[in-house]
Symmetry: C2
Subunit: 410 residues, 2 copies
């Protein structure tokens, strides 16, 4: 991939993604194999006036080795200094830039119980940091870069070199970062969200009924005072940022106690290296009552059973089928891309920002208001080109605002 275009991609992450401000501390997490791109991000962050840019280097392969070969007890603890590190950074108002380049299969064959315990201990220890980032008290942004393993997974028929080149093209196109001026393109993109979000927030439906030919037929209650979001976020100081690049979704908060019916996934879910495939769930009173999967059902069970909120909904998101990623018709084995190809739901924790005044509520108050709480937040796709969505108001009247995969409220 052309170096100039990559520098634009790095600048997009820094400027539109994290919106780095003068004098700000910046944390860049990046795979060691992607050091060249990570260095571009660091330079771009200094260009934006960062006071300090720290690199958190990651290596999925070393993580895998430790999952496979480490002593069993190490997965139940999370060192306090790691918590303190996040606190020091958060106290200094850090912005977090994540460059993700994962091999979808890197955790395949790893003991699911180790993964579950490791996730649980790290999530519990870093709850405060999660509250700050999910509540938009701190800005953050994620973009993707290809790895050879990932590229070969998505394009198994190409040579590694060609697969990498094609991945770069797809990732940049999918992230609307393939043009002359990606930052300007994202300004335009941002505006296109407003119409949809405004329509849905004005309607403030009591529930959504969603159907697909795959067999989904579910009525999802929306929390009273829910807020539709999309097209980026704004932090507590009013500074806009894009947590995810790409982002094509608009999303809100289900009522954790109201979801009834059947959901059939339209794409496999790659979760901690396991591809959960051919799966569906049946909800009653907001909770998963039964579920099944053709492949890796136990990984699905790990999500649903991690805690009380793991089997309830934390997000409902609608994506137009005509998004750049939707049009690629490609399974990326990667939530960041796959979730922007298709409408989806999330099991687990809801975003406080999807509720009016949600940020000021205690966890108990948030739950009482219908918000779901959990150690996990896992998106899975259920959108199809034939999907229909009906908004239902408090009197039971239906508005058919999304038809055959597209918004039709105009």
């Amino acid at each position: 991939m052309d170096k100039k275009q990559l520098e634009k991609y790095a600048q997009l992450l820094v400027r539109s993604g994290g919106n780095v401000q003068k004098g700000q501390l910046v944390i860049v997490s990046c795979a060691v194999d992607d050091a060249c791109f990570g260095r571009m991000v660091q330079e771009a962050a200094y260009d934006a006036g960062a006071c300090e840019v720290r690199m958190d280097w990651l290596d999925d392969q070393c993580s895998r080795t430790t999952y496979l070969r480490g002593a069993d007890e190490i997965f139940d603890s999370f060192p306090q200094w790691r918590v303190d590190k996040l606190k020091e950074q958060d106290d200094r108002g850090a912005v977090y830039l994540h460059v993700r380049s994962s091999d979808p299969d890197v955790l395949a064959g790893v003991d699911a119980d180790r993964l579950r315990r490791s996730t649980k201990s790290s999530r519990e220890a870093t709850k405060e940091h999660t509250r700050l980032t999910m509540g938009s008290f701190r800005r953050w942004s994620i973009i993707a870069t290809p790895s050879p393993a990932w590229a070969k997974k998505v394009f198994p028929d190409l040579s590694e070199e060609n697969a990498m080149e094609k991945m770069w093209q797809y990732l940049l196109k999918g992230a609307r970062a393939d043009g002359e001026n990606p930052i300007a393109d994202w300004e335009t993109h941002k505006k296109s969200f407003d119409e949809r979000v405004n329509f849905l927030n004005k309607k403030s439906f009591d529930a959504l009924r969603i159907t697909t030919k795959l067999g989904t037929d579910i009525t999802i209650g929306l929390a009273k005072n829910h807020v539709w979001e999309g097209g980026g976020d704004t932090d507590k100081d009013g500074i806009p940022f894009f947590p995810n690049m790409p982002t094509e979704e608009i999303f809100t908060m289900p009522d954790r106690m109201r979801a009834d019916g059947r959901v059939v996934a339209s794409m496999p879910l790659s979760y901690q290296g396991n591809l959960i495939d051919g799966f569906e769930m049946t909800f009653k009173d907001g909770k998963v009552e039964s579920f099944r999967a053709d492949a890796n059902e136990s990984a699905l069970a790990n999500i649903i059973e991690i805690d009380e909120g793991g089997g309830r909904l934390g997000e409902v998101a609608i994506v137009s089928n005509s998004s750049p990623i939707g049009k690629m018709n490609t399974l990326f084995y990667n939530t960041l891309f796959d979730e922007n190809a298709s409408s989806h739901l999330a099991l687990g924790k809801a975003y406080p920002k999807n509720l009016k005044g949600g940020d000021e509520l205690s966890t108990e108050e948030f739950i009482a208001a219908g918000g779901n709480d959990s150690l996990v937040h896992v998106d899975f796709m259920f959108g199809t080109p034939d999907m229909n969505i009906f908004g239902i108001d408090e009197n039971g009247n239906e508005t058919h605002f999304y038809q055959s995969g597209e918004f039709v409220f105009n």
Copy 2:
């Protein structure tokens, strides 16, 4: 370089270097560009029975960028969580494996005052960890791997690819890791040190007089109860390890108050990216009285003036000219290699292990016994093929035990 031989090199670091024990926590620090070799070290450490192998990834280029572009105030502080991280690891009895692959010029042009302040704040914060590692309470080991920039610096006339290949050959040969069974070769190597160390410890000279044709003529008092070390180390539990691979030196502790005469360096000193060249110092009563350098004199001043101990000697080390590295007759711009090519001195902190019972002394007691204390410990070479060393006993009698670059006491 042949992958099998690299795996042997990784095993050598783990087994002979750090001597990783069953159930031990292992910390591997490694450059991101060297991820392949870092992963081999991780695997080898698990092979040795490590309970957990954590990777600390480094990137010199990103460090350089921060030195050049970071806000000025960030160089005066060192986050507490970094101190706590070392403490957690030390409390768990960690062994530290360092894979060093530095570009000698990476810090060239960086503001010397920023470097000095950064070194000072990190050294002050990590004093306890330094005490544990320098006092052999915790095991650690350093080996080197080539980087393209380093290889091109040492072999400027070769292509990058050929320079890298030649560097691998030189580094493996220099580290006695180019044979069929490097671990066995190191056992043999270890034994060859015993004769020299035993001779010098039995003699327990009061002082050394050292001369070279370059102009060195200095008498260095040795601390009463000094101990000559060499050929590896033994931790507090009696477990042997090699802190440096290669190691060819035997070394002991000067009396911080007794060094008189002139020292002329025989090789440039690469310090924090600056090549201090053509330098000499004159000592009086143990302290540098005057100094000069043809190049980067200010970097030399930064060492000498960092604190009271920066201008006094912490180590005197003798190397035979016929060591594998000595025979290469190559400037590596790297202390680990260059110090094993030639006899050298260190400015700054002395090793407590070079004094009988030194580990049990407080800093004040250590200083009173003649040991030097400082935030720095910087080796510089002054050995030449014509070097002569005379041991002087308490009555002033001289023993000429090292002649024209070789030990001659047999």
